[in-house]
Amino acid sequence: MDAIDNKWIGSRTIRPDGADKVTGRAGYSADNAMPGMIWARILRSPHPHANIRSINTAKAAALPGVKAVITAADLVEFPLDKPVMLGIQDMRWMSRNILAREKVLFHGHPVAAVAAISEEIADAACRLIEVEYEVLPHAIEIEDAIAPGAPILHDFIRHEGASSNIASTMVNKLGDIEAGFAAADIIIERSFTTRPVHQGYLEPQACTVSCTADGKVTIWSSSQGQFMVRAMTSLLTGIPQSSIRAIPAEIGGGFGAKTIVYLEPIAVVLSRKTGRPVKMVMNRDEVFRATGPTSGSMSTVKIGAKKDGTIVAAQGTFYIQAGCLPGGPVRGPVGCSFAPYEIANVLSVGYDVVSNRSKVAAYRAPGAPLGAYAAESVIDELAEALKIDPLELRLKNTARKGTKAAYGATFGDVTFKETIEAIKHHPHYSAPLDHAPAEGVRRGRGVASGFWYNAGGESSAQLNITEDGNVTVTTGHPDVGGSRASIANVAAELLGIDHSRVSVLIGDTASIGFSNLTGGSRVTFASAIVVTQSAEKVITQLRERAAKIWKIDPEAVAWANGEAFPAGANAGQFPPLSLKELAAKANEMGGPIGAGTQLTTTGADPGFATHVVDVEVDIELGIVRVLRYTAAQDVGRALHPSYVEGQIQGGVVQGIGWALSEEYLYDKQGRLDNASFLDYRMPVCSDVPMIEPVVLELPNPKHPQGVRGAGEAPLVPPLAAISNAIYDALGKRFYSLPMSPPKVLAVLEG
């Protein structure tokens, strides 16, 4: 399908959720209320690590206004020795994460929950719960958790035959790494650290749950997957999925974090016990303290190359924080760090390290940014050492059709090269830059690239023609990044009708077929496929209806511009029948018109991005500001360009925060010390320049509209790009994030 022919695909139609969001009408999780509703609050651990000896809830239960008190004993127990997987999540860990069982594993770990007639009474009751702890020594940072003699979090974890906090190891291998390095003319090896960072969504986790006398459960909550909410709640409470209906609320940001549950199973058990609807809303402190950020990391990357710049070997060792239970995003750095390049010999090893902090959750391109930070920084040093332009060095080694990646894929038509060339030829890359524009001020420019897998997976859609001849499309994916707007464009295009006649809705678990998470840069890719197939089925029905009316062969009916018309030998024989006319005749001609598609979609192609950034450093204060940022990415096809640009700009802003100012800080007692947006420093608007997205549209041949996926790749390059730019400005390399003012000053003076 060529962009030129499109009326709606690729146009900036008005977003369907816009008016509600700017007028405050949008119904987020915490906005729901029900008659007879009560409130639940959670008692959280005051220790980062302790065995639970006993929990006495008698006093709390006796407080007037309290309706129920529960502990982990009220949830389904998942024995430690038997994995129960839902996607990538193991219910052994998920259940222990939402309510501690044998021990508490971080400061803020839920221990019990109380439902009462008000939040205040529930809080007061929590304070009456008596928990006897056996306090244990704790380890927060990776180096402490893997040091000899470190406090062991889980007796069941064994690494190399001994008790350990390394929960698992992942290895990607290609060729012969030793032979590769032996053949290299130059080898650069560096070690890096990054800090855990928050996804930065503003909407806190919240839910309202109603369990009625007949055992039926309804859940209102925002998430990145209502089917995930249903499945996890079912597993953790033992209630069959058919008895649970999860209704997705409008979501106020997720970025990966809302691909797991914290509250819903607890609220369900409390509602079942009390017979009352139960509402829970986390406060910001709880969100920071007890939900998952993404991992901090310690990594070492070693790259060997020939004098001409050919990379012959690359080795990466990545220690990734899992938080208190196994399951860090090891696959991100292990698989993505070297994937943009054709390298014959690769050894990439990742370790999943548990420690006494909240269990990590997904964050756009989970783990890939911290791997790319290390790899792309070393490539920058390599380019400098070889006196080759850093983009030329990347071009020389770029993955191409047929390149085998260490993670297993053999690439098809990859478009990494095009993103590098887009930056190379962009005016930004050749714009003059004064490295010392004023006393005490230095400027520099840096580049970096990034890779993300992208994904297909299960999606469902239903496209119905309303009785008045308009269109509703229902999909099963919460819209975090503009999928409703994109899908409306696709449906209007395929049906040939005005965009305003299409409404796109997100179905609950009872009204649409199973659809996997909104995540992995998959939703626009996957839902466009199922919507396209549904639209094609509907068009077939419409042609059949017209054929029946005209008494000609359906093959002789064509569909265009929202009308059926006789074609071929019958061309011009009858006046066209519009969608409205066919809808009006639906009942007499065979019934309601509509079609659905439920599919495991395939054909997702990886995403590549290359970024260039200019920074300015105040060398007396150590403050780094981003002056200019240009981000090139191949998205296949931008169904709705504003949203694609927003994805790229948003990813870059998150990368700027990760690189310069964001980090979780713990005190000596193992408590999070900056659990607020004041001291957890995400960039504000005035901290970032207008980010220029360069959207490349090289259609994915395996997708009906050519979509590749756009949401995650933009967060992969910024960390290294900014670090490389700071080097260009100061002549000093940084090996740890964030590059915050005190750290910058220390490096400048040291």
């Binding site: 205040e120 204060l621 100012s661 800080l665 001291d679 420093r681 504000v684 005035s686 003012p741 005190p742």
Partner: protein, 289 residues
């Protein structure tokens, strides 16, 4: 669960009467941009709230015949910015107050609240100290006054005695050739808390400094008047050596803590850097170099 009484007195006497009668369970509300946040966090749980914004004296700005100013304790940053003369006389004080929060916060936040909140990082306080502002206080035992630098007693604590309310600030008349400025170091560009804040007020005659005061914030338990820094500048032509001596005095005055917001080493170094930069702006405003 807890009932809170909300009082809106229209006279200072009424307010003081109610405040004293509450015996410590009441809180004064000016803009509420600190108080409401602290109540939400459960840090304070007042039994009564006394809103002072209905009291004319506390929300007024008056300019005396000699050019001195009185600024009511509850005047918002936005209201002060709209005053026709204040920002011309005291651009540094105004920029410090206007740095607080965002546009929304500016519609509420007051210099009185900033001072009474007792944070060593309050942005308006170093500028007020540099300006030589005097705090007017009234309580059950009548009216008294204190230099701004003598008002804070420690983080979150002030030298107000029970039942006392801040009425406002007086700022002295400005001689010709005067200028002031305030700069803070924050990692972000907005919506952040000062890691270091420096206020400077200067008077120059024929290129020579005849008066200088320096206020330093966020580097000690309270905002400081750095007398040695002022002394190093007075009599100088703001030559590099004198300014460096003033910067050294600021560094020496620092008694910071190592915390999530900044290290001791960093804060100390930055105090000197900001002093130099703030002096340059104040001097330019004074019409000097």
């Amino acid at each position: 669960m807890t009932d809170i009484r909300f009082l809106t007195p229209h006279t200072l006497d009424e307010a003081i009467g109610a405040f004293a009668a509450a015996q410590g369970s009441a809180r004064i509300l000016a803009g509420g941009t600190d108080l409401l946040v602290q109540m939400r966090n459960g840090v304070v749980r007042p039994g009564a709230i006394i809103d002072i914004k209905g009291i004319a004296e506390l929300t007024g700005i008056t300019e005396a015949a000699d050019g001195g100013f009185f600024v009511g304790a509850a005047v918002s940053g936005a209201a002060l910015a709209e005053h026709r003369h204040f920002g011309k006389a005291w651009p540094g004080v105004l920029e410090a107050i206007n740095l607080i929060g965002s546009t929304q916060v500016q519609g509420r936040a007051s210099a009185g609240g900033n001072l009474c909140n007792g944070s060593p990082a309050g942005d308006s306080v170093p500028a007020m100290v540099a300006a030589g502002a005097i705090v007017i206080i009234q309580g059950p035992n009548g009216r008294r006054q204190l230099p701004v630098e003598a008002f804070p007693a420690g983080p979150g604590r002030t030298n107000l005695t029970p039942g006392e309310i801040v009425v406002g600030f007086t700022l002295p008349p400005r001689p010709a050739g005067s200028g002031d400025a305030y700069l803070r170091m924050i990692p972000r560009t907005e919506m952040d808390i000062a890691v270091v804040g420096v206020g400077v007020s200067l008077t120059l005659a024929n290129g020579v400094v005849t008066a200088a005061r320096v206020g330093l914030g966020a580097v000690a338990p309270t905002v400081l008047l750095v007398a040695d820094a002022g002394a190093a500048l007075i009599g100088s032509t703001l030559d590099a050596a004198s300014v460096e001596a003033a910067a050294a005095a600021c560094r020496a005055a620092c008694k910071p803590i190592d915390d999530k917001r900044g290290t001791i080493v960093y804060r100390t170094k930055v105090a000197g850097v900001l002093l130099r930069r703030t002096v340059a702006i104040a001097a330019e405003r004074a019409g000097g170099k």
